[in-house]
């Protein structure tokens, strides 16, 4: 799995952190997404797909 982030689109909602906290975090100052694990292990894939689906800015792209 490969995750791509569009920081320009990110609105800092934090929905990805709620869905997959081991893969995503937020910058303190503006809440923009921080990718903790660009190539996460398979047991987290479902969470990552959930995070991508829930992102209100569609800023997370997932390739499998």
């Amino acid at each position: 799995m490969k995750i791509t982030i569009d920081e320009d689109k990110c609105v800092g909602a934090g929905q990805c952190v709620l869905a997959a906290g081991e893969v995503f975090d937020q910058r303190d100052e503006d809440g923009i997404v921080v990718l903790l694990a660009p190539a996460p292990p398979q047991e987290l894939w479902a969470q990552v797909e959930d995070a991508a689906a829930r992102c209100p800015a569609l800023a997370i792209e997932v390739e499998k």
Partner: protein
């Protein structure tokens, strides 16, 4: 289930379609959208698109190559005009019909309008990308702008117009901007933010009428007799659910499409997004949520429940989340932050313009609001009661 029709091709409709495919629905999937454009995102309209920071195509929800694999019968520029829930048929404005085994209604909202003024040149509403581009073209001429309504949309439009260095007046009947969304204490900070950036505020004022010359607006007249000269007026006084096409269809309507706790409407029919009205377990009754995150999450639930069938359907009980960006300020809300709730600042402080506040009502936490504190806010979300279906 062989045929599913999704009416409404914005965030909720597209998410429903994607969810259906992701969960293995291989039948005929039809999506009907009133606008000709492929599905696009609305939050950037009043911000990046109106400001000109983004090209319009950047608001497109999915690139063509991501829509293709969904195998949609995409009927864009076509309006659904009715549903027969017994015959299970949707009628379109060109007389065409689409039979369904499953139907998802996600037609969203239409802007509420004033009883006057909308026939005048220079008077705008903002809901669609076309509305936004039309307004932007007008703003480029350097007009004096009056925004009527200081909810999320009007307040953002005022901030964006000020960012274009225009003369902007923001009018609202309430004592502060965002009054109903964040209450008076935080609302007062929003008012101060606007004043700091040079927006003229006319609060606790109603609009009595508009003046015009040769069919073009020249001023907005307030109930205290003052007249605000205006070349462009934006009316942002809320929205109404787009259910006109469902009247007399047998689909239960109230403030939106009336669903049960699982987003189910009548046999085979579900609703999601701004248009859906359903009983929420911790909100104390039926609600609608006009929020971007709700469009996605409710569409996921509605589509999942449609495929699962009524016996295995799960209730939709989200902690609501919304946000607004003004100038360099980001305000985010989990839950509800109504006027009258007691505010407890738990991180930072109001004066520093960087804080998290919990909203208490009826002896419990009902909302958490972050002002330029996205990461800190998330830690306090857990203080909200996690809604569980009764």
């Amino acid at each position: 289930m062989d045929r599913i029709v999704v009416v409404g091709a914005s965030a909720a409709g597209l998410t429903a379609a994607e969810t259906l495919r992701r969960q293995g629905f291989t039948g005929t999937l039809t999506m009907v959208g009133e606008e000709l454009r492929p599905p696009y995102d609305r939050p950037p309209l009043s911000k990046q698109i109106l400001a000109g920071d983004w090209e319009p195509h950047k608001a497109t929800l999915r690139p063509e190559e991501a829509l293709q694999p969904l195998g949609l019968h995409l009927k864009l520029g076509r309006r659904a005009t009715g549903v027969d829930p017994v015959a299970r048929t949707v009628t379109l404005d060109d007389g065409d019909t689409a039979d369904y085994d499953g139907l998802i209604i996600s037609t969203g909202l239409r802007p509420r309008r004033l009883p006057f003024g909308h026939d005048l040149a220079g008077v705008h509403v903002l809901r669609t990308l076309d509305d936004t581009l039309t307004l932007r073209a007008q703003l480029l001429a350097g007009p004096r702008v009056v925004v009527i309504g200081a909810g999320f949309l009007g307040s953002e439009i005022a901030a964006t117009a000020r960012g274009l260095d225009l003369d902007v007046t923001l009018v609202d009947i309430e004592p502060t901007p965002l009054f109903r969304q964040v209450g008076s204490e935080v609302g007062e900070l929003v008012a101060q933010l606007h004043r700091d950036h040079g927006v003229s505020m006319r609060l606790r004022r109603q609009v009595a009428g508009m003046s015009s010359r040769n069919g073009r607006v020249t001023a907005v007249d307030l109930d205290d007799g003052t007249r605000i000269p205006a070349d462009v007026v934006v009316v942002a006084i809320g929205s109404v659910p787009a259910t006109d096409w469902l009247s007399d269809s047998g689909i239960p309507l109230g403030d939106g499409v009336l669903c049960d706790p699982t987003c189910h409407v009548v046999s085979g029919v579900y609703a999601a997004g701004d248009v859906a009205n359903w009983p929420h377990p911790t909100a104390g009754g039926r609600i609608r949520l006009e929020q971007r995150t709700n469009a996605t999450q409710q569409a996921i639930t509605a589509a999942t429940n449609l495929l699962a069938g009524p016996n295995r359907a799960l209730p939709y009980a989200p902690v609501p989340f919304g946000w607004t960006d003004h100038y360099d300020t980001k305000i985010q809300i989990h839950g509800w932050c109504p006027p009258g709730a007691h505010i407890e600042v738990v991180d930072g402080d109001l004066r520093s313009r960087r804080f998290v506040a919990l909203y208490h009502a009826d002896g419990r936490v009902v909302g958490a609001l972050g002002w330029n504190s996205p990461r800190a806010l998330l830690r306090y979300r857990a203080r909200l009661p996690e809604p569980t279906a009764a």
